[in-house]
């Protein structure tokens, strides 16, 4: 067992742990923090089903972003839809036998890699070209895009430039899953690709990538419009009611 394999194996276990625990912590924090008032952005759905559809449209179609700015929308869809297909394509490294639908996705996953990188480069260009977005960009916003572009580019290079032994890569990841470690090939572009993915997983719960759970917890989007029908009261606010009269003053 090479040192390289050991380092990467441990890195991935660490990254999965940080991602899982970090996200669990943040989701719990979002969950337990009360929303003291009804603040859905109106018009809002009148039923829970309606809210599910509203959130669904945000997550799947980026509805609000579409209303806002078609350029950001197109680029964001290219990136996110591309990433989704790429992740689906990569499931073949973790499943044996490979699931049926993962097989179907394979050819699309390749194009999706290009779409993803194109979307990211477009979004990055806007951080330089549009004065408003240049103003609001922190170094971390640029670095996040750089990280994702590098992941995408190194991944594409593994397909088109410096191919690696993907059978062995798959053996490595299945080995991680079954706690039966197998050697990892040592091509630099593979190591770069995997190292950056692990880094992304570690950064995730400490960064703006928290928009992923955040979108589901946003009170302006996940609340039902029923304030008149159903009293909404935060536990911490209930004691304020105790001092009041419930009878007419004489």
């Amino acid at each position: 067992m090479s040192l390289l394999t050991i380092v990467y194996a441990l890195s991935f276990y660490f990254a999965v742990a940080v991602l899982g625990l970090g996200l669990a912590f943040k989701i719990r924090q979002f969950w337990v923090t009360p929303a003291p008032l009804k603040i859905p952005i109106m018009p809002a759905p009148l039923t829970g089903t309606g809210v599910a559809f509203r959130l669904g449209r945000e997550v799947v179609f980026f509805e609000s972003l579409f209303k806002s700015n078609k350029w950001i929308w197109v680029l964001a869809v290219l990136f996110h839809a591309g990433l989704l297909l790429v992740v689906m394509r990569h499931l073949r490294y973790f499943t044996e036998p490979v699931w049926f639908w993962v097989v179907l996705v394979q050819p699309f996953g390749v194009y999706a890699g290009f779409a993803m990188v194109a979307g990211l480069l477009g979004l990055w260009a806007r951080r330089f070209l549009v004065d408003r977005i240049r103003y609001i960009s922190s170094p971390s916003d640029h670095l996040m895009l750089a990280l994702l572009v590098l992941i995408g580019a190194s991944g594409l290079s593994l397909r088109y430039l410096a191919r690696t032994d993907i059978i062995q890569v798959k053996a490595f990841f299945l080995g991680l899953l079954h706690f039966d470690w197998q050697p990892l090939p040592s091509e630099p572009s593979l190591l770069l690709h995997l190292g950056l993915v692990a880094l992304l997983m570690i950064i995730f719960p400490f960064s703006k990538l928290l928009h992923v759970p955040g979108v589901f917890f946003s009170p302006s989007r996940n609340q039902i419009d029923n304030a008149r029908e159903k009293r909404h009261l935060a536990p911490w606010a209930a004691h304020l009611d105790s001092g009041r009269d419930n009878a007419p003053a004489e």
Partner: protein, 499 residues
């Protein structure tokens, strides 16, 4: 005509393009600071407290525990830029700190520095900052250049609502002794006297009697304007500007005529003679609760069956969305009616059922458009269908006038622009901001005036009406172009035609 301004009136944009960033363009704009007395009335420290940096961060920590929205919004922004050109204050000033995300970042930078691992370890990298005097000054300036209209949140992929952020920032500032005079003085008046304008009971009764005489003189019919009548069916809670300001008072006359003609007994309360709840603007749940409790007490004292709110934007947001939380449950009111109800819901229902009749030709001298007030549009509803807050006012207007034209679709309904004076900014010390913030609405109005001959714009918010009456002359529109929706109703209603 308004007196000559000391600032440039923004020009109407040819192509409605997003303005270029002009750093520091509104760095000089800030409202008067609340005096120690005004602060004391609300239980806030009178001046900047010792060790305020620590206390501000502690307060932020407390709010993070109490308000999910704040926590989620501070964590979730990806700086995509979707909101950057959606704020009327950015459009009117070009100041980059008026871009919603940049405004949020004034607070988010402190959140990241004190409450996130990345901000503690690598502040420069993630835009985290310690709260210092410079940043506090920026908080005071730019969280008072947000009218909490929520337009940015419509366009945000995560629904991040800058109103929640600016409310939290104002709450923190109040707790370290830096309050805003306009809001805090007014909330004190509500506690002491019962309304924002400090109108005492005798003056209120006197005003209402005067209105009764005016209407009788004009129509020959006795339309009652009751105050503190026990056992009335309806408690009307309306912004105190309705009692005498123009064009608000014509709306109040309209409500009275509607109640009269429908045979509904009603009263205002001298104890709760104010619909407004400015505590929302300063983000104080406790103050909002205290102000809302007056309405509950008035309803109990007067033994009413229904509560109806007059034309007021943020008051209707508080009434529709918050009143059940703040002052409910309303189980002592008649369950047949929504609790509370908007006057437009009442009027529209009466028109539909034929209980009142309107003669649209009474308003044939006017071509109307309608300004959706931000808090009604994005913070509330009317009626029982999604978007009823857009439908019902228009139905009532169309039942009262023959000629109605909507403004550009990008400036109405959920995408409506704030009048420029909401959120506790309707004060003369912010006049430049108010004029510049009205630009997008004035552009949309100009379009329907030039192309459709619009003569009047109706609104359903006391702040909108006051703001437009003040700023429209800067843009070449007469101040009496802005009118109350219930003025149209009041002018068109057929009084005494039924038995």
């Amino acid at each position: 005509m308004a007196k000559a301004p000391t600032f440039d009136i923004p020009a109407f944009r040819e192509d409605l393009a997003s303005p270029a960033v002009v750093p520091g363009a509104m760095d000089h704009s800030q409202p008067f600071v609340a005096s120690p007395d005004h602060q004391a009335d609300l239980g806030f420290p009178g001046e900047l407290v010792d060790d305020w940096e620590t206390k501000a961060v502690e307060k932020l920590g407390e709010l993070l525990e109490k308000n999910r929205a704040l926590r989620v919004y501070l964590d979730s922004c990806v700086k995509c830029g979707a909101c950057t050109d959606k704020c009327h204050y950015y459009i009117g000033t070009g100041d980059p700190k008026n871009m919603p995300v940049a405004r949020q970042d004034l607070l988010r930078s402190v959140y990241r520095r004190n409450f996130t691992l990345a901000g503690k370890l690598m502040p420069k990298l993630v835009g985290a900052r310690d709260l210092d005097k410079d940043l506090l000054d920026d908080w005071y300036k730019y969280f008072h250049q947000c009218s909490q209209c929520r337009r940015c949140a419509v366009f945000c992929p995560y629904g991040i609502d800058t109103a929640e952020i600016s409310m939290a920032a104002r709450e923190i500032m109040d707790h370290i002794g830096v309050g805003q005079k306009y809001c805090n003085e007014i909330i004190g008046k509500v506690h002491k006297i019962g309304n924002n304008l400090g109108l005492p009971k005798p003056a209120l009764i006197n005003t209402m009697e005067g209105l009764e005489e005016d209407v009788e003189e004009e129509t020959g019919i006795t339309v009652r304007f009751p105050v503190d009548v026990k056992g009335a069916d309806v408690l009307l809670v309306t912004p105190s500007a309705d009692f005498f300001a123009e064009p608000h008072v014509d709306g109040l006359i309209g409500y009275a005529k509607v109640f009269h003609q429908a045979g509904i007994s009603w009263t205002v309360s001298s104890y709760a003679s104010e619909a407004a709840n400015f505590a929302m603007f300063i983000g104080s749940y406790e103050q909002m609760h205290k102000v809302a409790a007056r309405i509950r007490q008035a309803a109990l004292d007067l033994g009413v069956k229904r509560i109806v709110f007059g034309e007021c934007g943020h008051a209707w947001r508080v009434a529709y969305s918050f009143l059940n939380s703040l002052a409910g449950p309303w189980d002592f009111l008649d369950p047949k009616y929504p609790k509370p109800q908007h006057i437009l819901e009442v009027t529209n229902g009466l028109i539909k059922s034929g209980a009142i009749n309107l003669d649209t030709t009474a308003n044939d001298d006017k071509v109307l458009t309608f300004h959706d007030s931000c808090n009604v549009a994005r913070g509330s509803r009317m009626g029982d269908v999604e978007g009823g807050q857009f439908i019902i006012p228009r139905e009532v207007i169309k039942a009262s006038v023959n000629k109605f034209v909507d403004m550009d679709p990008g400036t109405i309904n959920e995408k409506t622009f704030c009048c420029g004076g909401g959120g506790g900014l309707l004060t003369d010390d912010l006049m430049e901001l108010r004029v510049k913030g009205a630009l997008p609405r004035m552009e949309a109005l100009k379009d329907v005036v030039d192309n459709h001959g619009v003569t009047h714009m109706a609104a359903i918010c006391a702040i909108c009406k006051s703001q437009f009456a003040k700023v429209m002359p800067y843009y070449g529109f007469p101040m009496d172009m802005i009118i109350s929706v219930h003025q149209l109703v009041g002018d068109a209603i057929l009084l005494g035609t039924k038995e």
